[in-house]
């Protein structure tokens, strides 16, 4: 019973926090709400018997990736320049088409879900099981993921380097 209450509470928090995150004008506020949403999802993971996934969600998602976001936002040092234009969001021609589309898509997804036979969550999957499977049958996926991360590393270094160099030149010019 407690689990059900916890699940629905966490779901509600996740949804509301997500909506708030996506409607903020200020990026930092949005990120805070997003972290909240991710934490709520971590709770859900825990409830449906995936404690290892919940831990990863907290540590990597809400921890590492979001910190990356915040670092970048701090580097850009945004003012409230962009906020004004975001007010256009309220105009119907901006939101009418996306809203209609997403509603149609939602209806379709609900229809798809309602077609499947009702099923329930089986129970706990321990981290040990996950680890054995990961380095057993899925070892190729691990390799692929490592390649992907390497590519991301190289790509982001290449893209970010110029920005950093230019910033250094600008600052040195300012000094002299």
């Amino acid at each position: 019973m407690l689990e059900l209450v916890l699940f629905y509470t966490a779901s509600t928090i996740a949804l509301v926090a997500t909506i708030l995150a996506l409607t903020r004008a200020n990026a930092t506020h949005a990120l805070i709400y997003l972290i909240l949403s991710l934490l709520a999802v971590a709770v859900i993971f825990y409830i449906i018997g995936a404690p290892f996934a919940a831990a990863l969600e907290v540590v990597i998602y809400a921890g590492a990736i979001m910190v990356l976001f915040i670092f970048v936002i701090m580097m850009l040092n945004l003012g409230d320049k962009g906020d004004r234009r975001e007010k256009q969001l309220l105009k119907p021609q901006i939101w009418i088409t996306p809203v209609i589309f997403t509603l149609v898509l939602l209806v379709e997804l609900v229809l798809v879900l309602s077609q499947s036979a009702p099923a329930e969550i089986q129970g706990l999957v321990t981290p040990k099981q996950v680890g054995l499977t990961l380095f057993g049958p899925y070892v190729l996926a691990v390799e692929i993921a490592s390649m992907l991360l390497l590519a991301g590393l190289v790509g982001s270094y290449h893209l970010g380097r110029r920005y950093l160099e230019e910033g250094r030149e600008n600052s040195s010019r300012g000094r002299s």
């Binding site: 088409t97 996306p98 589309f101 997403t102 898509l105 379709e108 229809l111 798809v112 077609q115």
Partner: protein
């Protein structure tokens, strides 16, 4: 000896190529020796080959190499020698050599001396290929080759646009017939599976019955080609205009050899025609009608070469008549004698023109009998042979044709009557020509006499035209090529009539044009007489008719198409593509949100499809 066969066309070919690549840099003497000598050599080898052939009398077949191989179709470059081929080769090289010799003097003052002989030698080569070919495809190569050379030589003096137009007309009109012939060849190949002439005849005889539809169609298509090349109705209009070329060219191409290619084709494929009696009848009728129409027209012309041109059309009509009634040997015999006397007439006319500052109008000539005696006697003998006066060569051949036409059951006597009428007219126009040009008062003085290189060919051809009838018939080994016609001896009355008719024609011509006993001015100058005269003068208004029914509609069609209404279709396609381009480039707005939205739309559609909602 028979192995020398391929050398015969090789000599003119080599000479022609030498003359072409030297670009007229050779001295004229050299060109003359090369041009006439090569054909002379060909004639000599033809003589040797002919003698060797006479010993055995067996057809000789010589394969040089395989031309091409496309599936089951592999025509050879191969020659076939039998009586018919030998006769044609003799005419081409023999008469051709005399005409080349004549040309060396006739064209002496022309700047394009070398070009002339290059074309003429090339023509001899192509014509030899035509008659020696073992298969119809090689024959077609020669057929087109002579057409091309004819085009080049008719338009030889291309600086005058009229000559170019005449050349184009000759080319285009014969092309109509050639297309029919090509279709005929396709039909023969698809039906019988070969184009080699001898196997083709065998296959036709085994596969087709007499009177089937297919042989009739095939023969009519071949007849179309023959009609175009030989200037028969309805494709005869090009020949009078082709007189724009030099006169020896008219003698060689448009009298002695090329225009008789149609006769040769029908004779060569006579086994097919024997399977198609309606096509035979068509050949005979085309020949007879053409012969009469052309004879009427010849009677009204005043250009010396045009008279001879219409006369040629008329005489080839006779040959067609002979072929149509199954008198193959007679048709080819007439071809040979016609080659002799018509070449003689053309060369003599050329000599007249040469000596009279290129004057063509016969009514401006007159009394040349004493001024140009050699030419006069040549012309007289040629005209006598043309009119088929007794004992000349033309008499024998025409007599044979008429008799065999008479013996044809059914329409035979009618064809005979038509042929007699043609003979009467032939005698009238040929002696009208002689009387007007060589008798009467002198209107123009010739400024030079024909030299020895003109006189010798003329004299030799005189001899051939006079006595060719005696020795040509037994000598010519046509028997091996054709089914032997049964010997009949018609009544003396028929013989007598066919002897008398040309004499009557001669007399009429004498009374009207020389003696002046018959005054026809009143008749000619009356309104209807004038109209008829004009009608005949224009060659039965055929040119006018074709202009109205073919050339003008075609021209207006081209004017219509000049507006490029076909292009509108393509432009519409282009415009549609441009419209699509604009629409699609509009979707490439460069806005991320737009892309995302369109992706979502796609997602919706895909899910709906997968779930079967739509």
């Amino acid at each position: 000896m028979l192995k020398l066969l391929p050398l015969i066309p090789l000599f003119p070919l080599v000479s022609s190529i030498i003359l072409m690549v030297t670009l007229g840099k050779l001295p004229k003497r050299m060109v003359a020796i090369l041009g006439a000598g090569s054909v002379g050599m060909a004639a000599l080898i033809t003589l040797l080959v002919g003698l060797a052939f006479m010993e055995t009398g067996q057809p000789h077949h010589q394969v040089l190499w395989t031309w091409m191989r496309v599936g089951e179709f592999s025509p050879d470059i191969a020659f076939y020698l039998d009586g018919l081929t030998l006769v044609m080769m003799s005419v081409i090289t023999g008469v051709g050599f005399l005409i080349h010799l004549f040309s060396t003097e006739f064209m002496e003052d022309d700047n394009s001396f070398s070009r002339y002989f290059a074309y003429l030698n090339m023509f001899v080569f192509a014509m030899l290929i035509l008659v020696m070919a073992d298969n119809l495809l090689l024959l077609y190569l020669g057929w087109e080759g002579v057409g091309a050379c004819s085009y080049l030589l008719v338009g030889f003096w291309y600086q005058n646009p009229d000559n170019g137009a005449a050349a184009r007309k000759a080319f285009v009109v014969t092309r109509i017939g050639d297309t029919a012939m090509a279709v005929g060849l396709f039909l023969l190949f698809t039906e019988l599976g070969t184009l080699d002439i001898q196997p083709l005849a065998e296959a036709a005889k085994s596969q087709w019955e007499v009177g089937d539809t297919l042989p009739v169609v095939a023969c009519l298509l071949l007849l179309g080609g023959a009609v175009g090349k030989s200037a028969q109705l309805p494709l005869h209009t090009w020949l009078p205009d082709a007189m724009a070329g030099p006169t020896p060219v008219s003698a060689l191409i448009h009298a002695a050899t090329m225009v008789t290619a149609g006769v040769y084709l029908i004779a060569r494929t006579h086994e097919l025609f024997l399977l198609a009696p309606p096509a035979m009848l068509a050949v005979a009728l085309v020949g007879l009608i053409t012969s009469l129409m052309a004879a009427f027209t010849a009677l009204n012309q005043h250009d010396i070469k045009r008279i001879l041109a219409y006369s040629t059309i008329s005489q080839i009509g006779y040959m067609f008549l002979a072929l149509g009634v199954g008198a193959w040997a007679a048709g080819i015999f007439h071809l040979v004698t016609h080659a002799f006397f018509k070449a003689l007439l053309f060369l003599a006319a050329g000599a007249v023109i040469h000596c009279l500052h290129h004057e063509h109008n016969i009514f401006k000539m007159g009394g040349l009998r004493t001024r140009l005696p050699v030419v006069f006697w040549s012309f007289l003998i040629g005209s006598a042979a043309l009119a088929a006066l007794p004992l000349t060569s033309g008499f024998f051949s025409k007599d044979m044709i008429l008799l065999q036409a008479y013996e044809l059951p059914g329409v035979g006597p009618w064809l005979w009557v038509g042929g007699l009428l043609g003979a009467l007219l032939t005698a009238m126009y040929s002696f009208r020509l002689v009387f007007v040009v060589f008798f009467g008062e002198t209107k123009m003085e010739p400024d030079k006499q024909p030299g020895v290189r003109m006189a010798v060919p003329l004299s030799l051809l005189c001899v051939l035209a006079l006595v060719g009838g005696f020795f040509a018939l037994p000598l010519v080994p046509l028997a091996s090529a054709f089914p032997v016609a049964s010997e009949h001896h018609p009544s003396h009355l028929i013989e007598g009539i066919s002897i008398a008719v040309p004499l009557i024609g001669l007399a009429i011509a004498y009374f009207i044009f020389l003696g002046g006993q018959w005054k026809v001015d009143g008749l000619v100058n009356s309104a209807s007489g004038q109209m008829l005269r004009k009608f005949w003068f224009s060659g039965w208004a055929m040119d006018w008719l074709y202009d109205k029914f073919w050339v003008q509609p075609y021209k207006s069609l081209t004017h219509l198409l000049r507006r490029e209404c076909m292009d509108d279709i393509y432009n519409t396609i282009v415009k549609f593509c441009q419209l699509l381009y604009r629409v699609f480039s509009y979707t490439q707005a460069g806005r991320l949100r737009w892309y995302a939205t369109s992706m979502v739309f796609g997602m919706i559609v895909v899910i709906a499809l997968l779930q079967g909602v739509i």
